[in-house]
Chain length 107, copies 2
DNA sequence: CTGACTCATAACCAATGAGTAATATATTTA
DNA sequence: TAAATATATTACTCATTGGTTATGAGTCAG
């Protein structure tokens, strides 16, 4: 029952977590320490959020010594983009139908 | 602190609620009764979800006698589409930069 | 007017989840 | 080896929320 959309929406619904993901998208790969500075929460909280983001396939990590470098995973947002476009598309189509109907009635 | 993206993601994060919105997008305007049939939950639950969707600007309602007709609100998904495109765009840009760098190194 | 019908609201319960402090693990440095 | 550093994990608390049943408010039919 719990499809890809579910995981994506749930993961991005939390503002702290979404902010972390945004920073990674804007600024590229960063360590947990760097991300913790600026996030308004503790280091364990950041670690947990990164774990959730990783589980959702939104980020990947690379271990280097005692530091963990996280970066956004390209393509992870595609299902979200698809879903949104599809939903918007349904309305568009119905709007076209309505316009067609009105045009036909206008004749 | 709680911006439009927050409301949209939080609202769409619940699968039951997202399913209701999807049905409205696919099939167009429907009454609460019609929506309750098929949603796996009680009528009050559906009403509450519709209230949240309405609060988020994702749907609108129209009263007709004792029935409430709900329909998706066009344009409500635009901020979501924008955000997703923007995030995907950041990676794109960085990817281009990387390619440029590799090309320059190749010379 | 009365009873049936449609939907919203109220009151409550159980589960989820985001946060914390404390601690464990692993790596670098002195 | 011992201390310091970087991150993950554990155990816990607290607020939020999605679900329920019961009921209220409004509308239509007999």
């Amino acid at each position: 029952m719990s499809d890809a959309h579910d995981v994506l929406f749930k993961t991005l619904a939390d503002p702290t977590r979404r902010a972390l993901f945004e920073r990674l998208c804007r600024e590229g790969e960063q360590t947990v320490g760097s991300l913790t500075a600026g996030a308004g929460v503790s280091q364990p909280a950041v670690s947990k959020h990164l774990g959730v983001l990783k589980q959702a396939g939104l980020v990947q990590d690379r271990q280097q010594g005692r530091q963990a470098h996280y970066s956004p995973r390209p393509g992870a947002l595609v299902p979200l983009l698809d879903w949104t476009s599809e939903m918007a598309g349904f309305w568009e189509r119905r709007f076209d139908d309505l316009e067609d109907l009105l045009k036909r009635m206008d004749q």
